[in-house]
């Protein structure tokens, strides 16, 4: 059997965890892979203490990008934003646990890239809505 498409990857692809939407997300971002047109939309629910209490994603893509999104959303649930910000591409590739060729790296990292953009969007939004000092 093919080691790239090991059972765990295919299982996440068939039945992705956290697939769906949040009614009132605190952060939303639609990320896309310009190479193939794949898209995922990531939604985060963040507590006032800065903990990711809920996360959901939707989208279409290859087994690698969808399994990666499924695993990453599992990974960040319950973590503080500081911990989430420290997540690097190594962590994502480690949890996939497969050899990713350079051509497929963008697929594997689409969810992480979308997560980072969702978080920086949220920071920018908050900064823009803070009452300016008089």
């Amino acid at each position: 059997m093919d080691d790239l498409y090991r059972d765990e990857i295919l299982e996440h692809y068939r039945r992705p965890h956290n697939f769906g939407t949040l009614p009132e997300p605190d952060a939303v971002y639609e990320g896309s892979n310009p190479l193939c047109g794949d898209r995922i939309t990531l939604m985060l629910g963040v507590t006032e203490e800065g903990v990711v209490e809920d996360v959901a994603f939707t989208g279409r893509g290859c087994a690698i990008s969808q399994a990666s999104a499924s695993m990453l959303t599992d990974e960040i649930k319950g973590k503080s934003l500081d911990e989430v910000a420290r997540l690097g591409s190594d962590a994502v590739l480690d949890s996939l646990g497969i050899e990713i060729s350079p051509a497929r790296l963008k697929c594997a990292l689409l969810s992480l890239d979308t997560l980072r953009r969702a978080l920086s969007d949220r920071v920018a939004w908050q900064a823009s809505t803070e009452t300016p000092a008089v």
Partner: protein, 438 residues
């Protein structure tokens, strides 16, 4: 009518060194010729010969190898002219590829001839190369772009085309053969209609020149462009053909050395056509390689190439649906209406995964949107897989593709034969929510 003498892919492959390479005990099944073609030994020899025996610059030196280089470069131009049946090889401008040729026309002819409120007609089939240059021109000039839609089998809707022509566009630009679906457009009829409406016509021949005979005089368009690297030639070679009187009127595109007759500090006089459009040292080796590639194809005969690919396409259109359960094919259903390009999807398997798994079997296919995102929006898929042929392709390649696709289905269907039925249910709702939240 007699069918031309059939091509034998096995004999042809002996001319392409890449087939001597070992890919894990297999030879390469190269099914991505629409992206770029493989190169025969005669082409790499011609490039090598230039680089090691007479690698001088052209149009300058007064010594033996410079004269040899200039002669070889201009001979290559004449070969392109003959290959396309141009009236005159001065109608051939060397460029890097079809993209550069379209940009040249958009920049040089377009900026001078398309004004505010005027219209350029394009189609839903176009490659990004025949969309983006016109988008920029339209933005700059405040001009309009109109698009001919396609029907469900990927044919242009001629009634809409005629209706758009009635609005009096300045230019119509469309592809000869669709790189996404393989559709062969009825160029001559469309050119006649456009001319009758007073429009000029640019034809993107990037997917036509490799796959069959092209006669620019018979097609009667005003501009015709192609890339050398899809016609067995090196990357960096390509050509714009245009009617000479148009080239004479057009201002230069890139400027600098070689495209001038006289330069003074404050003004210059430009060179004659076609050199007026060839500023700076060109890719001399690639142009010479293009000449060698066209000689090679001439010796085979482009009518035989067309017949070979028609037979392969017919074989693929018959074999794939019969042997691969659920496979979805896009584009015209008959091989006579399409060039050697077969676009498909497997249900519930993303084309990237298909391509990765086929690669394990040394089968190369394209996966993605093939630089035709608007076409993919039209057919409702973010991505597709594509198998495309050239002279070295054979029935064995298609049989290997079928076996490879069966293996993909075994891997993806191995636990329950069904992939995540719940994903698409939430899709539209989710997108709507995402839009609202932003």
């Amino acid at each position: 009518m007699d069918r031309p003498h059939a091509l034998d892919a096995t004999t042809i492959r002996a001319d392409f060194p890449i087939f001597e390479r070992d890919f894990g005990g297999r030879t390469l099944a190269y099914l991505d010729s629409a992206a770029t073609s493989l190169k025969p030994r005669v082409v790499s020899d011609a490039v090598h010969d230039y680089n090691v025996r007479y690698s001088a610059n052209i149009h300058r030196g007064i010594y033996t190898i410079a004269e040899e280089a200039t002669a070889a470069f201009e001979r290559a131009r004449a070969k392109v002219g003959r290959f396309l049946n141009a009236r005159d090889s001065h109608e051939i401008v060397f460029v890097r590829n079809a993209t550069e040729a379209i940009n040249l026309v958009a920049y040089s002819w377009g900026r001078r001839n398309i004004g505010a409120g005027e219209t350029v007609v394009l189609t839903e089939l176009e490659h990004h190369a025949n969309l983006v240059p016109w988008q920029l021109l339209a933005q700059e000039k405040d001009a309009n772009l109109e698009f001919v839609p396609i029907d469900d089998e990927g044919r242009l809707v001629r009634e809409t085309y005629e209706a758009l022509l009635a609005r009096g566009p300045r230019l119509v630009a469309f592809t000869h053969v669709s790189n996404g679906l393989g559709t062969i457009n009825p160029v001559r009829e469309m050119v006649d209609q456009a001319h009758a409406a007073g429009a000029l016509v640019l034809v993107d021949g990037a997917q036509a020149v490799p796959h069959g005979p092209v006669d620019v005089q018979a097609l009667d368009a005003d501009f015709y462009v192609f890339s050398g690297h899809k016609v067995l030639a090196p990357t960096g070679s390509g050509a714009l053909w245009a009617r000479r009187e148009l080239l004479e009127e057009m201002p230069p595109f890139l400027t600098g050395g070689d495209m001038i007759r006289e330069v003074h500090l404050r003004q210059s006089e430009f060179n004659d056509v076609p050199w007026k459009f060839e500023a700076g040292t060109p890719d001399i080796a690639a142009a010479i390689g293009l000449g060698a590639a066209l000689d090679y194809l001439d010796a085979i005969g482009m009518d035989r190439v067309r017949e070979h690919e028609r037979q392969l396409t017919a074989y693929a259109l018959e074999l794939l649906p019969r042997e691969v359960p659920g496979i979805v094919l896009y584009g015209p259903t008959t091989a006579s209406e399409r060039a050697g390009i077969v676009t498909f999807n497997l249900p519930d398997v993303h084309p990237h995964d298909v391509a990765t798994l086929l690669d394990r079997e040394a089968i190369a296919v394209r996966a993605g949107h093939h630089c035709t995102q608007p076409l993919h929006e039209r057919i409702g898929e973010a991505a597709t897989a594509r198998a495309s042929f050239n002279v070295y392709s054979g029935q064995d390649d298609i049989e290997r593709l079928v076996e490879g696709l069966k293996k993909v289905q075994r891997i993806f269907g191995r636990s329950d034969g069904h992939v995540s039925p719940e994903r698409d249910v939430h899709q539209e709702e989710a997108t709507a929510v995402a839009g609202a939240a932003r």
